[in-house]
Amino acid sequence: MPKRPPQARAEGPLSPAVFHILLALAEGEKHGYAIMREAERLSDGQVRLGPGTLYGSIKKLLGSGLIEESGNRPDPELDDERRRYYRLTENGLRVLAAETERLTRLVRVARARQLAAPAPVLRFGGAG
């Protein structure tokens, strides 16, 4: 049987851990530790992915074809050879975009109901 490309599974909301992992991988391939650091940075330290959570999600994402293991290493000189790098697949990118779109819509609704700060500009100004 010819292997069909996995379907994008954009219907369901992604779990926070999965969304952060995809987001962290959006700007380039990373190994597990870097994904964790990036997720922490993106969320201002709110999302701390434990090893079990991180690799449990990575296993699922690998299985559903949203990410894949990458063969080449960005910096072979400095690198630990036991590290494995992961990167987004095309499908993963599509799912990430769909989920972002979904969240944006939700945020827009929440803003319209004055539940959140009206515009991101204010937040940067206010936070100082």
Binding site: R4, Y55, S64, D80
Partner: protein, 420 residues
């Protein structure tokens, strides 16, 4: 930077490595090393930051992480839920879709089977055949009765009328006894399930045990004895063996030992005159039918297990298992038997079907009020209103059991999954 992290953290890392044992081994083999590295990295971060209690906090978080994810991975591994993600379709339809398709296919099978049985029974046996022969009943009465029971309608009409009622949950009443069909079928089904299940479990256990021992001690006296026994068991016709047991246990042994009653009852479900349910009495009544049903099954299973075991015992992974220094018992039970039983599931699924045939004969000989006896009685009387629901129930059972065997096969053997 990473070299620094490794130094000084050995005890913590060793502790985390021990914690990793809580994850299923497949998960550990794939991600364990990376998880250790991640932990090392975080440990290094905490030390570099030098916060008070930082490492303790890391441990609290890590233990919480393990406590949350390790059981989840264990469950996934135990029920093998990850096959969904390995499926090319992304697992959307997967096993549930496969099962749904198979069950949907059962609908034409049910209709075809019931139609076939209806045609056979309506063209061969006249339920009111006795009426015309009875000199005390007038011809007019016979015709009236025929009209009342709807037997004067055309055959397709009779079938469609029955089907319409059945689909709406109305199982109707027997043509002959005028008893409602549903409770009769239900109690017959319960009795048959008890008998069939007991015989299946017994023959699986005994057959597997015999097959295992005779494969390990190949060409020993035990092997020759059970091989001969198996061919004898396969060759004995069930009805003859049932009658033989009745004669030997019920008559000859009783006479030989000068008893007033036989050691084991040879007919029925309960002793005459007893009321309610008595476990011991019921088991005594079940004993002979179970033996009759099991003889062939034990013979079949023991042969298949023996052949399947011999094949696995010669496999290279067993040499590896022995070379690893595993005990012979572990090698045989954990490595050989596990792989050997996989083909047995198919055999079991099929032979449960064969058991249904054996049940009809056995129940009739032993006067056991189960599905087999219900079928034989109704068929003989041309009572199609009892036979048709019987067919529906029996065919549904067959379809579900076959499906269950196929699913079990797929769950036991990962290679089967990709074929879907």
């Amino acid at each position: 930077m990473r070299a620094l992290a490794v130094r000084g953290g050995q005890r913590h890392v060793a502790a985390y490595r021990a914690l990793l044992r809580l994850y299923p081994w497949r998960f550990r083999r794939r991600f364990g090393e990376e998880m250790l590295q991640l932990f090392r990295g975080r440990l290094h971060d905490e030390r570099e930051r030098g916060r008070r209690g930082g490492v303790a906090l890391l441990w609290v978080r890590t233990v919480a992480d393990v406590a949350r994810t390790a059981p989840a991975e264990r469950v996934r591994a135990a029920f093998d839920l990850d096959w969904r993600e390995r499926l090319p379709s992304g697992g959307r339809s997967g096993l549930a879709g496969y099962a749904a398709r198979r069950l949907l296919l059962a609908v034409p099978v049910l209709l075809g089977a019931s139609l076939l049985v209806f045609v056979v029974i309506r063209t061969t046996v006249d339920p009111l055949g006795g009426c015309a022969l009875n000199p005390r009943v007038s011809v007019a009465d016979c015709l009236r009765l025929r009209r009342q029971l709807g037997l004067d309608r055309s055959m397709p009409m009779q079938y469609l009328l029955w089907l319409g009622h059945f689909l709406r949950g109305d199982w109707g009443r027997s043509l002959i006894s005028n008893r409602p069909v549903l409770p009769d079928v239900r109690s017959a089904l319960a009795n048959t399930l008890v008998l069939g299940l007991a015989a299946t479990v017994l023959s699986l256990v005994v057959g597997t045990a015999i097959g295992m021992v005779s494969s390990i001690r190949r060409y020993s006296a035990f092997d020759h004895l059970t091989t001969g026994g198996a061919f004898l068991g396969l060759s004995i016709p069930g009805f003859w063996f049932a009658l033989l047991l009745q004669v030997v246990v019920g008559v000859e042994l009783t006479r030989l030992l000068h008893l007033s009653t036989p050691i084991l009852p040879t007919a029925g479900l309960a002793s005459p005159g007893s009321h309610g349910f008595h476990l011991v009495d019921r088991l005594r009544h079940l004993a002979l039918p179970i033996v009759v049903l099991s003889v062939q099954e034990v013979a079949i299973y023991s042969r298949y297990v023996r052949a399947s075991m011999l094949e696995t015992l010669g496999a290279e992974y067993l040499r590896t298992a022995r070379a690893k220094g595993l005990r012979e018992r572990t090698v045989v039970t954990r490595h050989a038997l596990r792989n050997a039983v996989v083909p047995i599931t198919t055999v079991a699924g099929l032979s449960i079907g064969a058991l249904a045939g054996g049940l009809i004969i056995t129940e009739t000989v032993f006067q056991y009020p189960g599905m087999g006896q219900l079928f034989v009685t109704a068929m003989r009387q041309g009572d199609y209103l009892v036979v048709l629901p019987w067919v529906m129930v029996a065919v549904t059972f067959m379809v579900v059991l076959n499906l269950a065997a196929d699913i079990a096969y797929a769950l036991l053997d990962p290679r089967v999954r990709y074929a879907w």
